[in-house]
Symmetry: D3
């Protein structure tokens, strides 16, 4: 018997508003299962909509950050916040986008020792400052990123993803969100 | 000459999408001025919409928390995160909702010494754990709140408001958002 | 009914030694009310005299620091120590000396984002190191201050004010000293 | 091309003293590969012998702790110390001993949210206090463990494993020890 | 050649005001040498007078705390603040008052493991909370001390000594005050 | 009556295995007494052998670090870990090797203010990073040590001694190891 996936009631799919059902149906088609973040946050439809709108605005938009870079930010900051759901679920997504079965575990434990480029390292250093010490950000934190080719809009993206997962990590810890078993293995075994 | 209100470009009202202009017009009518959080975050319309949808979902909904209690959570956690915009802007709103010109400064500096009821104190203790140590939340953190009359849905609200302002504080620190001068005095002088 | 202004007995003015009564009478004349720090600390006359002698030696002396700069140090370090009395009372004094109704709230929350000159920012960075990490002070902390025009005696003043309020903040927290209601509004409204 | 597995020279197997070669040969037979901790620490033969003697004294001995419990202690404390090698290598061993493909990632991120019994949770709480705050250990830390059936000798084992990996984590961080690629997948896929 | 005893100019005894010279002469008579805290702080006569008035008000007064208990508070909190002068100088005084050559080193490193009574342990736990986390003091911190026989005035003394040495430690770290060589051995060898 | 020297049973010398008895006999001959670390850790013979093999491999070997430098690393990191046994016992050894009765107390409280050369200061800064923040070590930490004449093998020694005492401090705190009274005075009084 599985432990519960949330401290709060988990709605049945068929009881949810149409737009939320549709959103969940689409992710299920793509992933092959319903990630628990969808069904557990759907307990609060209005917050659900806002959260995934925010998520899509940052993670599906065009911009200077690759998809793998965005997931790295999530995994590194969620590791620092000790958020089990986000490290394990986004670790899977990072492995897939980066086509690298090792990178997620490395970044989750300690990005300084991961197989990263200097650009990625600078990006994560900034992201972790936003996650853990945003009060100490000053103008001097921006030029090093620009030297690595990040535009000011890219820097907003880095900071905003770290900020969104500051929220997400706290929600997951609040409701004790459980990652789906599927995530643990995703992206680890090269498809033959 | 005023310092800038953001590290990023601030859009002109007339250049914004219609729905955002309308949203800003309404808050301006109510407040008498445009709070800088609206105009600075409008640099990114999609994130703007998601942020204020989230905000409204938590702060305008019905529920067991009074409006003043919700603002207390914002002021206390934003103080802990050293977010100048949120402490000063939401401090003003707290003074107004609580009809108490002293409470915001007290809560911003140290909620333990503010003029609070035991219920409010328990609420802020939980909110600060979500803000600062959410990884350490366990089942034992919930019963004390229930003893003070908070339902499980109220506890979600407390935690979710702390989580949303974990995001908000980091965004304000990222873009160096400046509070409007108007906020400093609002709610301090009783209307005669 | 007001909450008590101290965890300890508060003496009646008429029961105090003559010199203390006189000192209190003078501040009352100047301020229009008796700040609670005077009447609550008077519970211990010998400590009272030493504390205010120390205070006057640092805050009333001539020297390279302006009166507003000295109050900034108090507000910034008291904010870091979460001392409600000192942030609120000295915030009022700072507003008056700086003739700036905004500066105290800014400095109390996060001096890095306050409307400060580079000289003031360097001063507060040093003061906060004295307040929070004095064990880590080394010779390398002094030249940056000299570059901003502070003499070595000025630097002693900065450090000593931070040190005195390390004491003062702890005493206020120990006895749960309550700021007078008058402080909250002082210096916020320009006199017409 | 692989990044180096150590900041220090890595000896060739054939250049090592006979006893160390033999030790390494045995682990290779069992694991199917040479874990990098053996070959990188062999740069210092005397320290190598002492380290693995200590390791075997704690991990191969009989006693009240199961093999999986011992590995849990390693994974949880190494996660807290952000030691990439130990989290990833001992995570693999934990999955195998516990016959549980999920447990290692859960414990590495946040043991409070892992699928653990109350006994295991109490054990890890104590282990983390040894790892992070051993100065604060007092007599009151022992009775809760005894209530979960741990003998005083078991408690020594818990504390000593946390202490040994305090050393091990620091050595791995010092020499930038890289986990073998093989560890990432071990124990994740049930053998058919 | 000795390193300097202060970062600041050290006055010659004969250049000091009469009252300060007299104060120093008396301590020299008693101790057999001039402790450096006297001659280095005399660089600022007004602050010198206030500091030693404060010191005498707390350390020479009657009250429920023994002389040894007062010095324990100084040594424990100065250890936590890493103040070399105060640990070494007051360590000597503690050895003498307690007639115990071991106690000062024990308390300086970790009071939890020192040869203390439960009363002394409770006293130091409170003193360290004042020294390190005074913002978190609440009403619940007082009853445990009362159970150990401390009156409310004794508790003020404990807190005020911790607060005074919060100042003193920061001043010593600011000016890099050097302890006299004599202190290191004082009270270690029983007089025969 | 003396407090116990360990939370765990302390074996009688005559009940110990021959090799351990012999090892203890030798140190007793040299020191004039049996340091408690030997007899308390002998409760676990296999761990005893590994610990002292490790100790000897690092502290008795040849190399670029003087004996006094190695003991400085132990005293400084044990001070940071608040380990009473190691600060007091190795403080004595440091005084003897350095022929300096003052240095151990200085280093234990705050190495930044001790009478050290720039080389020694750089060495301790690195050692404390290994002790407290080894996860943050990067390639940039090594060149400053090389500039002070430390070879890469010397740097391994510095880090490995800090790592070994990370273990040792935790074991001493776990079993509440008590320093022998003899250590307190050793090396303080010059032999005549």
């Amino acid at each position: 018997m599985q432990p519960p996936i949330s401290r709060y009631p988990v709605p049945r799919l068929e009881d949810l508003p149409q737009d939320i059902r549709e959103r969940i149906r689409k992710v299920q088609e793509k992933a092959g299962f319903v990630p628990n973040v969808f069904i557990t946050l759907a307990h609060r439809p209005a917050e659900f909509r806002a959260f995934f709108d925010y998520h899509d605005a940052l993670l599906l938009k065009d911009g200077g950050l690759s998809k793998a870079e965005r997931e790295m930010i999530i995994v590194a900051t969620s590791g620092a916040n000790q958020c089990q759901y986000c490290v394990i679920a986004h670790g899977a997504i990072l492995r897939i986008y980066a086509k690298n079965p090792l990178i997620a575990d490395q970044v989750a434990v300690n990005y300084r020792k991961a197989d990263l480029s200097p650009r990625e390292r600078a990006m994560l250093e900034f992201a972790l400052k936003v996650a853990l010490d945003s009060h100490a950000l000053t103008d001097t934190d921006f030029p090093p990123l620009r030297e690595h080719g990040f535009s000011d809009e890219d820097i907003w993206d880095i900071g905003a993803i770290a900020a969104l997962f500051a929220l997400s990590n706290r929600m997951a810890n609040l409701i004790n969100m459980r990652p789906n078993d599927e995530f643990y293995l995703l992206g680890r075994v090269p498809k033959s």
